[in-house]
Symmetry: D3
Subunit: 138 residues, 6 copies
């Protein structure tokens, strides 16, 4: 019998960023991104929920070992993003605006290649407790 369960693991990282489109002048950037365009950067405590969906193993009762998932996130995501300047320190954002939408997509793309294809993956990323994003959309 098919009993799909989703499991979630919460992780967090702290980073600086700036929203900016280099194809636009200073004025338009400020008009669109407001205070988030500060050339000296600002920052956030990002909190993320990694959601994995599949059938629990008959011998473990686990969809995925959440300690293993936590280690995978530490090595592949937190090492890359935690205590970093997203615009300056992270190659994926050299030419991509680090909005909460785009950061969620980048995290998904990295983790997708590390997780068994039989398992579904979704990322929810909180930029602040009031603003957050989910990818892929459900």
């Amino acid at each position: 019998m098919n009993k799909k369960v989703s499991v979630y693991r919460k992780e967090h990282f702290n980073a600086a960023h700036r929203l900016h489109n280099p194809a636009w002048g200073e004025e338009k950037n400020y008009a669109v991104f407001g205070k988030c365009n500060n050339p000296n950067y600002h920052g956030h405590n990002y909190e993320m929920d990694v959601k994995i969906t599949g059938e629990p193993g008959a011998d473990t009762g686990y969809v995925i070992d959440l300690k293993f998932l936590s280690e995978l996130v530490k090595e592949n995501i937190l090492e890359k993003l935690d205590h970093k300047n997203l615009n300056l320190d992270v190659p994926e954002f050299a030419h991509l605006n680090p909005t909460v939408e785009n950061i969620a997509i980048v995290i998904y793309d990295i983790l997708r290649s590390k997780i068994d294809e039989k398992l579904d993956l979704q990322i929810r990323l909180y930029e602040t407790p009031k603003n957050f994003a989910e990818y892929p959309a459900s």
Copy 2:
């Protein structure tokens, strides 16, 4: 390529209300709605998550500007509901019981007409941290 992302904005308002069906007598109203039927009203800190789903713009990285969404909610929802008596001050509830389900539907209907048709909309409304509703159901 199609990359749909959901973004969320959290807002809140405080209101008084009373659950009541005028077609029923006092006794049946009390039997069904209990303390929520208090004729002098009681109240809540309502917290709402507005969820918008679509593709991030190529030049902004935004599904929707969350500052714009927040302003839209302030003008169309908070002005109408915040620090109000839902039964007495809000025309939509003159003949509609202000349960958390119905308040979520009313908020959705108002916002739906203000937001680009290409974007999907969902409302999650917390009446208390323990009781909440989502419309449309997913």
Copy 3:
């Protein structure tokens, strides 16, 4: 040896209220209390922390039995305030403005007479997650 410990019990109630000083005219009331002066009332999910300080009993390890404390709060405070209109339904606020400060004082005065004099008591009352009060001040 003297080992004083504080224990806390969290409880909540939902109520409607209106801030108003009957000695003032409508205009001054609105100038001072703003939207909180709505004559039709608004409301809140009040959350309270009841703090009791004393020495744990040698045979129980309890400063006070928190189940007993919870029952005491239910009977003396929640029965009186939950799902009520503070201005209309609660005699203590017939001539006292139900600000978060005054509600905390009223709750303290009621509980103080029910709790062993050897134990210290303090009330923290949240009107919203952003606005709260503590009585007596520490």
Copy 4:
């Protein structure tokens, strides 16, 4: 017109458990389950969201009366699991590993038989604020 709404009720219970597969030796159990395999048990504050989806009744505005749902959960789930040792006190886990996935499935199966078939049901169960599961997967 068809207007499906989801409503949620949050409940909690505290329990001890141990992750263990009796078909494996001590060493393999420790390798797979780590500290969660402690033969003397450890425990959690489990928090659960019960989600019910359907159309609000025309005369009540309720998908389901959340007080009724809360009573149903108390009688059928909390009586069974709260302040219990899941492995020793709960027959469902005599031969089933009490992972957060399996506990969510057990809760779902019990409640499913008690709730009107026209209503959809989903359980979200938090083992800790960082580790949680949802069944059925959405």
Copy 5:
């Protein structure tokens, strides 16, 4: 000039326990401790705030390095209590009832001997989000 600041570090552990006084019979134990007396144990996600008070160092701006404090708590408290049965696995509770009051005192006594005497120490321990204790009382 003297500028005392308090800093806090939040940590957590999961444990099983049972409230019991061996000097009493079964009946009295159940009358006093209720469901918490279950002989098969139950458990909690304990969350603790470690509060340190002192003057920030002129060259660091730190009262204490919170990474160092976190390591100290991991080695001396979490190694001892996390994923353990407090009654069976922790010598301090062999003859001491593991109430939230007593666990807070035990944690304080261990950490007090590891932290510079010039710094003040206080422990706040949450057994559940609704029940918590603080030692020493302030």
Copy 6:
């Protein structure tokens, strides 16, 4: 009669910062501040509780109008710190390390001069949900 009450108002801001002592070399800075020394900055969602203690006014029931306090914090603190780089954009940190301790002291010193001397003031500042500071210490 003297009835002192404390009231609290929660506010938040997002900022980038870097921990660094210019009197030390690169190696010592990294040894002491670790990842927090990243020359490209990282950032946080800072959350602050502003605590004011005094007697409620006889005609208002307010210790202080929390809307007024919120405006005061917006003008004097959030304008200065929100969406800023603390090291580069805020003169107070040109020669002061922006640790959570020092930021709390700077906020206190600014607000102290704006608030009636009869009222006591305390700042609690969260750098993350796990690390926070309070000034003056209580």
